[in-house]
């Protein structure tokens, strides 16, 4: 059982003084402390968990972050860093004794260098804004989580965000050159830079995906890539999940790495089609979006190769998009999938496990069986190339029983992911959501090792409290 570590009562008692202290460090409109206005900060993209924070601080510079961090460290106040608040695992969930450190004002692009192929930006720049800033030069920033329009690079680093194209281009950690971070004690540390592979321990790699447990990211240097000459998607529909899974294996075994390989099951197809009108076939059990890149001739050649492979699996339909617009429409459905599900259900839980790709059909069959057992619908979206599975469990948050069943259902899916050789989270992070399940994937020795590393960075457990580490562990 997951027990919440106790709040710092002394911090609650000193609330007034702490707010006053923040007000001395930041401009007037950068500190929020009245209850009515703290409420919108009580939750993030996972709205089922809510806690009103002690205060919100909105720094605009690394210097302000340092000042705030030093002050809070001295006062022993927990800090919850927050980017755009799009986390689906409650990564930015506050606590009553914590100050939310909102990075949304740090949205400047600091440097773009096409010759050396990097961009340096503040942590509050959105993922898509980086690509927009380098598009003129023909470049892009590769990781593209579904929330790329809104999510911020600081949060991407904290969660090691992935996206639909990471089979080819890797996830956040594979696309970083440097970070400026502020430690729990309030020291600024530059990690990496404009070059690759610092000698010494890979702090860059350790900090990426550390969910705000080790330091606060204020600036990020990312690698930018030149965009391919063009990209085109194809849609292939199958009559069974097994068949779609086998087809994915055959494509990869043939030595082809498409830039994206996305899978949707029947309910997901229906929801996305209703939103995007991309012409998804509504009568199929499983749908693959396969995207390739290159010149028009290269696209043709690759799509022909892939079509040839798909044909062996008797697709219900196979449509190669003829234009960039058609491809965009195809992607619109997939990228808006989560929101689209919001149209067919008042609430949903978005799970995020990873499984060995070969086990897809078996896992989906078992999820289907659970769906019947819990009496809740589920739509599955799967990054088929890399094994990242997103079951969206539909429920009604105004019905307490429905919510409880949804949470249990989700936990059972994640246990299944670990059982078949996968993991609890592929890209959303552990956050508060999967914290109680950490013991499913890690044994006590392994958890203790992770905890010791956390303590090496943050001995007082003040950074993003009540996340990642199981409560009993954190309190120990």
């Amino acid at each position: 059982m997951d027990v919440e570590p106790p709040l710092h009562e002394d911090v609650l008692a000193r609330r007034g003084a702490i707010v006053a202290g923040l007000c001395r460090l930041l401009p007037e409109d950068a500190v929020i402390s009245d209850r009515a206005r703290l409420r919108p900060y009580e939750t993030d993209g996972m709205a089922s968990e809510r806690q009103v924070p002690l205060a919100v601080a909105l720094p605009s510079t690394t210097g302000e972050v340092v000042a705030v961090m030093r002050f809070l460290h001295r006062e022993g106040v927990p800090v919850v860093p927050r980017g755009a608040g799009t986390s689906l695992s409650g990564g930015a969930l506050p606590r009553a004794d914590a100050v939310v450190l909102g990075m949304m004002r740090m949205h400047r692009i600091l440097e773009v260098d096409y010759a050396d192929r990097f961009a340096r930006v503040q942590a509050g720049v959105t993922n898509l804004a980086i690509t927009e800033a380098v598009q003129k030069g023909g470049f892009f920033y590769a990781p593209d989580p579904s929330s790329q329009l809104a999510c911020m690079i600081g949060g991407n680093v904290a969660m090691n965000a992935g996206g639909a194209h990471c089979l080819r281009y890797g996830v956040t950690t594979n696309n970083l050159l440097g970070l400026t971070v502020v430690t729990a004690e309030g020291d600024v540390v530059e990690i990496g830079g404009r070059h690759v592979d610092a000698a010494g321990y890979d702090w860059l790699g350790l900090l990426t995906g550390s969910e705000g447990q080790l330091a606060v990211v204020t600036e990020v240097t990312v690698r930018i890539l030149h965009a391919a000459e063009g990209a085109r998607a194809m849609l292939v529909a199958f009559k069974a999940n097994e068949v779609a899974g086998a087809c994915v294996a055959a494509i990869i075994a043939a030595g082809i790495i498409p830039v994206a390989l996305e899978f949707m099951d029947r309910p997901a197809i229906a929801a996305c089609e209703a939103f995007a009108h991309a012409g998804y076939p509504l009568d199929a059990e499983a749908l693959l979006i396969v995207e390739v890149e290159g010149s028009a001739a290269e696209q043709d050649a690759l799509l022909a190769r892939i079509s040839g492979i798909c044909a062996r699996f008797e697709p219900v339909s196979l449509r190669v998009s003829a234009s960039a617009e058609e491809s965009a429409a195809i992607w619109k459905g997939r990228k808006g999938a989560f929101g689209a599900v919001g149209r067919i259900s008042p609430d949903y839980l978005c799970m995020d496990g990873t499984i060995p790709t070969g086990r897809l059909a078996e896992v989906l069959a078992r999820i289907g069986e659970m769906s019947g057992r819990y009496g809740l619908k589920v739509a599955n979206i799967f990054h088929a190339g890399d094994g990242n599975l997103h079951p969206l469990i539909l429920f009604d948050a105004n019905d307490a029983d429905s919510q409880r069943r949804a949470e249990e259902f989700g936990a059972e899916i994640l246990r299944l992911c670990v059982e078949v050789g996968g993991c609890l989270t592929g890209e959303h992070g552990v956050g508060v959501e999967k914290r109680p399940l950490m013991g499913v994937q890690f044994n006590p020795t392994e958890l203790a090792q992770q905890r010791r590393i956390k303590e090496a960075f943050d001995p007082g457990w003040l950074l993003n409290p009540s996340k990642v580490f199981p409560a009993a562990d954190a309190a120990a």
């Binding site: 919108p40 909105l58 004002r105 509050g124 927009e132 929330s147 809104a150």
Partner: protein, 458 residues
């Protein structure tokens, strides 16, 4: 998103509708990225999702909202960019309009705020009063430097004075009850929403619209009794005035529909179009619900009308590049994005789109007078992006945007002015002022136009 209203509360149909909107929001936060005020302020509270949350709390608690909360709702431009972005189909417009009404009834604003809002609601919708006010403002402008340097009131006053145009065009001589006959055989018949503020600020827009439509074989009427669409009062949260204005229009147009019939109700100001198209929802609890829904279904932006009824240019291309500024009421309010660009291209213009086209220019009805600082920042940002287009002229489909953007070195005009010119109308005056070169073959074009007209006539 979870809500916690009592069954009691939900018996209020307005609140029930708001609850439906709240329930569709999944709190994903996508909308924050495209919200102009969030982009400027970097605060969840100034984002759509933050406002939705503030409104939810305000409605759940039921008491009067605090001034700090009201400030964040007031900062909303109602540009509806969030609705374009939202993948879950959250109807933010209905929610915020409802919330504004609630604020207006439960919250007491400072005296000067109340005064200003009352003034705006009493002036803008009425062309005659608005003309007089603008004249007064022009006379008062020399005194602007005497206003205190800081303070909400002073900056708002300054903003209002700055927005008053240098030269006021001649009055259009009243439009109500008039009918404009088609050139040649009548192919269709439409009502024109003559509008309010626009008629005073730039009567040429209506004139060009009428020329365009009649040239295409349309009969245009402005039925007696139709007036302001009600949006200005609506966005100020003045429910009673809004309903009265809407009711008058619905009655006038319904009479017309029952009489000679209408193929459409043409609106050439984007915000008004969005409003009229929503009449069905606004009046859903009123006795006129049915007729309001029918009126709403007939409403169309002038760009939709021109495409539907077959716009065709008669002059050769002018060799001019037009930066198209998408008015929020069109791109977000009515989801009209391609039509105006298509028409401009059809008319032979090169069309350039500015970066951040989704961001509001800060005009937003009376917003630029109520929130001058945000409005100014947005204007500067928009002008910068428009200048980067290196176009000869900026075209947009809304009088508000025109007033907001004009006078800063870029010629800005309504899309219909350009379309009318290319279809045989006069060369827009804004082009003269900006010294956009007269295209070659102008004389020949006039001949062509005359020929075309002759053919139509014959």
């Amino acid at each position: 998103m979870q809500t916690s209203f009592t069954p009691e509360q939900l018996r209020d149909p307005g609140l029930a509708a708001a609850n439906e909107v709240l329930r569709t929001c999944v709190h994903c936060g996508f909308c924050t990225a495209t919200c102009p005020t969030f982009v400027l302020k970097g605060d969840e509270l100034d984002s759509p999702r933050g406002r939705i949350y503030l409104i939810k709390d305000m409605l759940e608690e039921g008491g009067p909202p605090g001034a700090l909360v009201v400030r964040h709702i007031d900062r909303c431009l109602s540009c509806l960019s969030c609705m374009t972005t939202c993948p879950s189909g959250v109807h933010y417009m209905h929610l915020v309009d409802y919330a504004r009404g609630v604020i207006e009834t439960r919250h007491t604003r400072p005296w000067h705020d109340r005064l200003l809002r009352r003034l705006l609601a009493a002036l803008l919708p009425y062309p005659a009063r608005f003309r007089t006010a603008l004249r007064a403002a022009r006379l008062a402008r020399p005194f602007a430097p005497l206003l205190p340097r800081s303070g909400v009131l002073a900056s708002r006053m300054r903003a209002m004075l700055a927005l008053a145009p240098e030269r006021l065009p001649a009055a259009d001589g009243g439009m109500a009850g008039k009918v404009w006959r088609p050139e040649g055989t009548r192919r269709f018949r439409v009502a024109l929403l003559a509008g309010c503020a626009q008629r005073v600020l730039d009567p040429e827009i209506n004139a060009a619209t009428i020329r365009l439509l009649t040239r295409m074989g349309g009969e245009v009427v402005v039925p007696d009794g139709s007036g302001c669409c009600g949006a200005l009062a609506h966005h100020l949260g003045r429910h009673g005035q809004t309903l009265a204005e809407v009711r008058a229009n619905v009655a006038a147009w319904t009479r017309e529909m029952a009489g000679e019939g209408l193929d459409g109700i043409v609106v050439n100001a984007s915000g008004c179009g969005a409003m009229v198209k929503d009449y069905g929802f606004l009046m859903r609890l009123e006795p006129e619900a049915d007729s309001a829904a029918k009126v709403a279904a007939l409403a169309m932006d002038v760009s939709e009308a021109l495409l539907r009824f077959g716009y065709a240019p008669s002059r050769p291309p002018a060799g001019i590049t037009v930066a198209y500024h998408a008015a929020c009421g069109l791109q977000h309010g009515q989801k009209i994005t391609e039509e105006p660009k298509l028409l401009l291209a059809k008319a032979g213009f090169r069309v350039a789109m500015p970066a951040e086209a989704h961001l509001c220019c800060g005009s937003a009805g009376s917003y630029n007078m109520l929130q001058p600082e945000i409005a100014d920042s947005l204007r500067e940002r928009k002008l910068g992006n428009l200048r980067d287009c290196a176009a000869d002229v900026v075209a947009t489909g809304n009088i508000g945007c025109l007033t907001q953007l004009a006078g800063h070195g870029l010629p800005v005009l309504h899309t219909v002015m350009l379309l009318d010119w290319m279809a045989g109308g006069p060369r827009p005056a804004a082009l003269e002022a900006a010294a956009v070169p007269e295209p070659e073959g102008e004389a020949r074009a006039h001949e062509l136009a005359a020929e075309a007209a002759g053919q139509l006539g014959g």
